[in-house]
Amino acid sequence: MQAVRFNPALWFNAGLDWLDERVGIRELVATLLHVVIPRSAHTYYLGGITLFLFGSQAVTGILLSLYYQPTPESAYNSILYIMNELNFGWLIRSVHAWGANLMIIFCILHLLRVVIQGAYKAPREITWMAGMGLLFVTLGFGFTGYLLPWDQRAYWATTVGTEIAAAVPLIGVNIRDFMRGGADVSALTLSRFLGVHMLILPAALIGLLLVHLFIIHQQGLADPHATEEK
């Protein structure tokens, strides 16, 4: 009998075999990875970078949620604690704040490259509309997240931001009050912004992303030089 030695590659393969017998994992991975893309398709990695930034936001956001306290009385102090006392708290919060801005920038750059290369054209309408949904969700993350530290800038930016909605004809004031949970920005606003920021928007983003990436996988990336599709 052969001596049992530490051989990660062998172990990895054995694990894969085990999974393969049960769920056909090799075929699945092959379907996902063994695709080709046109050499002339220059994505500049913008969509992927946006995806990476979302991953970074998820990790840093979950870490922040362990110490953040979502009430007007304690939110501000919990942020002070994260910034000044918690080990590397300042770094996690700063990466989350910068990541939010970068995610919006890269999302817009990604949109611009899709427009300039004409990659939105048929048959990629659904990818495009899911992308627009992703853009709105990303902006929603920024809008709701900005209130959470409950400092002067947060409070008043949310006040003027929700006031924009009041300009919508007929139901504007209702939309504004619905967003605020009342006539003013208050404890209720903080609760619903947190719920939207931590539950609704992440679920929406993941759902839209699955549609976005599934269709991209099925169709392949657009070839900028080809006018006609299969």
Binding site: I49, S56, W98, K121, A122, D151, G161, P169
Partner: protein
């Protein structure tokens, strides 16, 4: 990269690049660079915090985040529509950006031309440049007003 993969890459039809491992590797390098950018920016300019919120004390320069500034500024600029009636500025101030966003949402159905290369769609390039310039101008204007 092992030999099997090399053969794979060489046997692809001309003009096609294998997603794995070629594209994935470049993508991972890009992620690594962005991670460096994130940490560097955070170290140089950590996230700030102003005084605790005070609903009774309106600060002097209240502004939304930079990515909403252009719409916010447009809403203010829309005052020029007052010659259309008292309600016109507020109405057009939200309606016009709203309609433009809706048009953008349905772009693939509005632009049905089959050509993709940017050089063969000069009007679209011009439109992109104009929209970008207007949005950037409104954002800067909003920042300094």
């Amino acid at each position: 990269m092992n030999d099997a993969n090399k053969k794979d890459a060489a046997s692809q039809p001309k003009g096609l690049l294998p997603f794995w491992p070629h594209y994935v590797l470049s993508e991972l390098i890009a992620w690594y660079v962005i991670l460096g950018v994130l940490v560097t920016l955070s170290a140089i300019l950590p996230a700030g915090l102003e005084d605790k919120a005070n609903p009774l004390l309106t600060p002097e320069h209240v502004k939304p985040e930079w990515y909403f500034l252009s719409v916010y500024q447009f809403l203010k600029v829309a005052a020029v529509f007052s010659f259309l009636g008292a309600e016109a500025p507020r109405l057009l101030g939200v309606l016009i950006p709203g309609i433009l966003l809706a048009l953008l949402f349905f772009l693939p159905f509005l632009d049905r031309g089959p050509k993709r290369p940017a050089r063969q769609r000069p009007w679209m390039l011009a439109l992109v440049v104009i929209v970008l310039l207007v949005v950037i101008a409104l954002t800067i204007w909003g920042q300094y007003s």
